[in-house]
Amino acid sequence: MSGISRRNFIQITGGAAAVSTMGFSNILLAGKSAGNVVIIGGGVGGATAARYIKRADPAVNVTIIEPNANYYTCFMSNEVISGERSLDSIKFGYKNLESMGVKIVQDYASNIDAKKKHVVTKKSGNIAYDRCIVSPGVDFKWETIGGYDAEVAANQIPHAWKAGPQTALLHKQLQAMKDGGTVIIAPPPNPFRCPPGPYERACQIAHYLKNNKPKSKILILDAKDKFSKQGLFMQGWKKHYGYGTDNSLIEWVKGAEGGIIEGVNAKTNTVIGSVDEYKGDVINVIPAQKAGKIAFNAGLVNDKGWCPVNQQTFESTMHKDVYVIGDSSVASPLPKSGYSANSEAKVCAAAVVASLQGKPAGIPTLVNTCYSLITPDDGISVAMVYNFDGKKIQKVKGSGGLTPMDSSEAVRKREARYAHSWFNNITSDIFGG
């Protein structure tokens, strides 16, 4: 708290608490405080940041504002869709964080007053902060797909791009579909959360269909002309799902060849493409994406709808003492992935603790690793190590890259085992336990 003494700070925030009806600030000030950090969003970024701030300095008060009682990880949710794992296995609560002293406020953060330094919530009044970390994940550009909205997604044509009830719905729809049905997957344009995700989803659904409904088809109507891990995915589709033959379980239509979709008709279960209309028995539309709503409300976004940050600390370039991590932030060249959000959260946590202690921020180091499962025994990965060149994050030359195309079945099997180990380890690292 540079420039404000602890006594002054108590007077200032104490005053705010008296005005607010719920008085959360009073609770925050009950312990011996080395500063108040309020985190918006209890997903991968938010929960990791909370845990790592507490690890670095237990005296810092850390509060997470999160509307849901549990978080369902998007990673491995494709295995829930195919029935390889249960929805419960990707569900995580906040008990372990609470036992570290992190305060969980189950509420919706609607805005940030960066001048008065408080977060505006729906039910809990204003919550004062010294540093605020915003990790809201993505929101959808519903307006880019005619006839599609949150209600249609929740009940009939799930995006399932935030794991939870829609993941379960998509799984149920596949189970109910007749053999010989068509599953349409419509991946979004760049940039979006989890670039290999839609194509892993196609693999997982194909795996389910191959074993249960082999006369069925998956039609991928893509907004793009190329995609993440494309060579490896197509190789896997050929090997396991007949890709390129008349009996292929998967057909991929690129954007330039009519893959771009303009709307859906929920009544007739039809996807309206720029060229043709496609009838599906199960439809999964993943809309174009932007930063989470709070980032727009709080004025943290650029004209492209994402949050620019100082890449050494993840502090917003729009508002002082407000940090943005995870999918909403502009962390390029890091992709919008779970591992990235976890890695960014640690850099941010260290920078926030340093800043509260009046110390300069350290030198960032980051990693991303993304596994995709083509079958339960065939895993592929992409990895990269990142450092900081004084101005921005950069890839470390010579590091990272994809699983080699010519890797053996034994290697692929190990990668699948490592994918599941990665899931176990990263979720423990995020939520504790």
């Binding site: 420039g3 180091t365 990693v367 990272g400 380890n425």
Partner: protein, 198 residues
């Protein structure tokens, strides 16, 4: 908010560092080690079942492994060769020091009691000389065996015996003798023993 001299000084220094063409400095050992946690667990204690625990392994072993992964002719791996290439020797030293200082948690694993008992005897006879204290000690170039994830040990030993990873002369001699004397299941018995250790 008033800025005191100290804070102002830091801002000026920070500004100078950022404006330079080259960014000098190395990330801290803690920050470097934290990047491994996504796969190897917080503080290097893996929650398994296949990625190995790094907590408590000797710094020499860690360093040798990472440098070997960087070498195209070096240690066989799925992903680690791609990741290891992202770090300088100085950074690897820092990580090695950090993980060596961490306490290993030995997880509950499913093991066959009878085989583990047989493995204990095999360990004493063939391995204890270098992998001391029942494989609980990781010193010099010896990795951590007791309480390590069994699936990882299976992968590793398959690589050693399949010629994908080079054994030291001493180890090769002992492993070959054990397999000759005790048969093909001896290695599995050893792994059951290490997995049973708490």
């Amino acid at each position: 908010m008033k800025l005191n001299k100290k804070v102002l000084g830091l801002i000026v220094l920070g500004g100078l560092a950022v404006s330079g063409n080259s960014w000098a400095g190395t990330a801290s050992a803690l920050d470097l080690a934290n990047t491994c946690a996504g796969c190897h667990g917080t503080d290097g204690n893996s929650t398994g079942p296949a990625t190995p625990t790094l907590a408590g392994i000797s710094s020499e072993y860690f360093k040798e492994a990472m440098l070997n992964y960087q070498d195209p002719e070096g240690r066989y791996s799925t992903i680690m060769s791609r990741i290891a290439k992202g770090y300088t020797e100085e950074e690897i030293d820092l990580m090695a020091g950090y993980f060596a200082k961490q306490k290993m948690n030995r997880p509950d694993q499913h093991f066959d009691k009878k085989q583990a008992k047989a493995g204990a005897k095999l360990h004493k006879k063939y391995c204890e000389k270098c992998h001391e204290d029942g494989g609980r000690s990781s010193e010099d170039d010896a990795g951590m065996l007791a309480g390590q994830w069994m699936e990882y040990l299976e992968f590793t030993m398959a690589d050693f015996t399949g010629g994908k990873r080079e054994m030291t002369k001493k180890m090769k001699k002992k492993v070959q003798k054990m397999e000759k004397d005790k048969g093909a299941n001896a290695m599995n018995e050893l792994i059951q023993y290490y997995g049973s250790q708490k």
